[in-house]
Assembly symmetry: C2
Homo-oligomer: 160 residues x 2
């Protein structure tokens, strides 16, 4: 057990990009932001989105490309520098300065038109490269009761 795996590298390509009224990485108030995801016309036909509008929500996988990789701190720290919250490691937070800079967010799917998806509540700024879109499926939600520490609820109080 605990044999350390060999690191492997993979190339991923953006499938599209976010067009958002929000151009700065502000911490809070994402809930009412309406944005679009424009899929890349050179890779895809509208067929890739067939049936998606039957789902109310999507899970968007994207890449925090504006995060300088040199800024990724692997030591534990107080989220948002709040000394009253515990020091936690990067994999115990959802902060953007993380290894591989991948974000995953569930948001409302408002409309699908051609290769353009309109969404509400996507916490990604204008220009963010999108790596994947998945339908949000009830059976993929947590299957047992969820427990989390108090600090994250406090952090999330004004997020949406």
């Amino acid at each position: 057990m605990s044999s350390s795996p060999t690191p492997r590298s993979f190339t991923v390509n953006s499938i599209g990009a976010v067009q958002s009224p929000r151009t700065e990485p502000i911490d809070d108030d994402w809930g009412n932001i309406e944005s679009t995801i424009e899929l890349d016309q050179s890779q895809f036909e509208t067929d890739v989105l067939a049936g998606l509008s039957d789902f109310s929500h999507i899970d968007v996988v994207y890449l925090f490309d504006q995060v300088d990789e040199a800024s990724i701190n692997l030591g534990s720290r107080h989220p948002r520098n709040r000394a009253d919250w515990p020091r936690v490691g990067i994999f115990a937070q959802r902060a953007k300065a993380r290894p591989n800079r991948i974000g995953v967010t569930t948001c409302e799917l408002v409309d699908v038109a051609g290769l353009t998806l309109t969404v509400r509540g996507l916490d990604a700024i204008d220009g963010t490269p999108v790596l994947d879109i998945k339908p949000h499926v009830v059976e993929f939600q947590a299957r047992t009761p969820v427990r989390q520490p108090a600090w994250i609820g406090e952090l999330m109080a004004n997020y949406w």
Copy 2:
């Protein structure tokens, strides 16, 4: 609007790998599978997991590395070749043969010891490279009622 974004490429590195009793990509019965995620000791100290055990669940981002990229079909199709289910596009399914081959699954966090996470209900086979681990946060779940088509509930009936 609807200007097509320019595709961009990024390199991602595995942060660790799954050690699972399941070595073949079987469709169903993932719910009771207990597996471990071994983080890469050359990249990380245990500090990266500080505080994670206060969460009951994690969201695991991984890469379906066994999927031949040439097999990724961008046309719409019947999921699992079930002709009684509608033809849907790859972004309206969670099938593994998808652009960038990224999977995202919420699973139970059973234990954290050093750089080893024990999890239950992770639908990734032995050796799967892991790209990210995020705490599962209630406020990141769908914030409005979820609607989905009947076929996906049928597909998921025996998944866990």
